[in-house]
């Protein structure tokens, strides 16, 4: 057992999967120099054929990763949320659709590792939190690890999964630390976290708070504040948005009767919208109060440090939402 950062956990998962399976290779921009931190030393260890620096051609290399995966390779593509737009045609027209439209003939074992910068002055073009858009498109698995343990376990599961996996690395969470067990101490000899299984991070009885990505930490911080006032929050981290473990959330709301959803995405058609709608539809009779959503303001991201922080969820906003739902 050791304390590791989220990035270290992703890096470890990558090395383990590349050692285990020679068809796994990584591709993306500036991987060899590890500009995004998770691929340091990878090219020295595995060689240039398995650690490929691509030209600035997202549509081209996303598609190339898909084509390679159709022919026996298992690519890990590293990119950034804001650059997904450049490759949208390959993600939507091909990645999400090929298996189905070809009647199951196409196998696409690609993992996209997508860094999500925000709340750090990166301004309008580099602050996207766009996982909800990919939830709406049938055919893509959406993974949002919030801590180092889940980052390692979900990353390994994603690489082995034979569907297209989009793993969003929350930019606020990437320097967080958590206990990550050593392989020798694990029953199967390695850390694998399954998709579609939410984690109840903190058990509680008064209000269910579902946190998406960086929203989990805000929920936990709010829980500490409210604990002092005798309010008990149950904090749930879905970990994967597609597949989504709505059952765990519904079971919790059945006990608490109150739901707050915390999501760094813009509020319209966010992951929070979907979860709120599902609970309103399937758990209506459990609810004692209207659902509260704490998501990012529906406005583009301004640069100024005086304005940007106003957009995103904070522990204070979560506390306020909990008070509202208890009112």
């Amino acid at each position: 057992m050791a304390m590791k950062t989220y990035i270290q956990a992703i890096a470890e998962a990558t090395v383990e999967e590349m050692e285990r399976d020679e068809t796994v290779f990584t591709m993306g921009e500036d991987l060899r120099q590890s500009v995004y931190g998770a691929t340091a030393g990878l090219v020295d260890r595995f060689g240039e054929d398995r650690v490929i620096d691509t030209p600035l051609s997202e549509n081209g290399f996303f598609g190339a990763a898909l084509g390679a995966s159709l022919c026996g390779m298992r690519p890990i593509v590293e990119t950034v949320t804001s650059f997904l737009w450049v490759g949208m045609d390959q993600l939507i027209s091909q990645a999400s659709k090929m298996r189905y439209m070809f009647g199951g003939q196409a196998e696409l074992p690609v993992t996209f590792r997508i860094r999500m910068f925000y709340a750090r002055g990166a301004a309008a073009h580099h602050s996207d939190r766009n996982y909800p858009i990919f939830m709406n498109t049938p055919g893509l698995k959406i993974i949002c690890p919030t801590n180092a343990y889940d980052a390692k376990g979900l990353m390994k599961t994603a690489v082995r999964d034979n569907d297209v996996c989009m793993l969003f690395e929350d930019g606020i969470a990437i320097s967080s630390r958590a206990e990550v067990p050593d392989n020798e101490d694990l029953p199967g000899g390695e850390l694998l976290v399954p998709f579609g299984v939410a984690n109840t991070v903190r058990a509680g009885s008064d209000v269910t708070v579902v946190g998406i990505a960086g929203g989990v930490q805000h929920a936990l911080d709010a829980a500490k504040v409210l604990e002092a006032e005798g309010v008990s929050l149950e904090v749930i981290d879905p970990r994967t948005l597609v597949p989504l473990d709505i059952e765990t959330i519904l079971n919790s709301v059945e006990r608490t009767g109150r739901l707050v959803v915390v999501d760094p995405a813009h509020k319209m058609c966010s992951a929070a919208s979907q979860i709120a709608a599902s609970v309103a539809q399937e758990g209506f009779w459990s609810l004692q109060a209207p659902i509260q959503v704490v998501a990012s303001e529906q406005v583009n991201v301004p640069y100024s440090p005086a304005l940007e922080p106003l957009i995103y969820p904070t522990p204070e906003k979560v506390v306020a939402a909990v008070r509202t739902v208890l009112d």
Partner: protein, 326 residues
Amino acid sequence: MELDRQQLEEMYRRMCRIRYFEEAVIKIHSSGELIGPAHPYIGEEAVAVGVCAALRDDDRIAGNHRSHGHPIAKGGDVKRAMAEILGKVDGFCKGKGGSMHLADFSIGILGESGIVASSVPIATGAALASKLGKKDFISVVFFGDGASNQGACHESMNMAALWDLPVIFVCENNGYAITTSYRNSVSVDHVSDRASAYGMPGVLVDGQDAIAVWEATNEAVVRARAGEGPTLIEAMTYRFEDHSLGLDRIVKSQYRTQEEVDEAKMRDPLDIHRAAIISHGFTTDAECDEIEATVKSEIDEAVEFARNSPFPEPGDLYDDMWATPV
């Protein structure tokens, strides 16, 4: 390398197969049996057949919305193609794909794509897999003059040349992207002129001459398998029918003159190939007639097969979405 009698006859057979298949598709569209768009390959048969004659079964191809010719040229089963076009369960894709998404992975057909140029990066990736996996299969992508302007094309060609990937880019220049002449969309005289800008050979070929197409492709195949990288082949061809079936009901003005169409039809690729193989003594008129008759029966059987094949059940709707379901 030379083509032998068997290969030359097979090329004629496959060109006939495409031609009669497309004529049958036109009939079932007129009768209302075929729902949705279809884009006939009539007039372009020599391109797909000439290219595929130079390929192995394990070489991969990817195509575009003018989608029936490539799979048939690669050896695809016309019964399953016709069933797919009618949305039936015995189609290549269990009826889930339709005309524009024919695919048969068992013979290297990685699928036809409805979004123009969208399959070009996919084919480039297949070549990447071959190189990384130290295999020797190659990959071919068919795209049009219109598609050649998409970013996906430029990005793919750059990567392919940069990394010496065994991919052949085949531009089927039929002169038009729906109603837009390529002279109004491509900034240079020929799409193949762009090849040197990427650092790969560019070859211009008469796309109505299947043997010429084969020669150009074969040279590119040899290069690719030798690890020398990609080639851009531009096959000048012409589509005898409209862009899609029924387009004339929407687009009233003539974007091509009747004279131009009539003149193009005088260079029918089936006639050209048939005349060439007979005049060189590889076969006879009677044998070609027999090939035609046999293929006509095959197509009739394919239509019958497709009509008799059942539609998928409502319960099939959610199948084939995932390797591990959500």
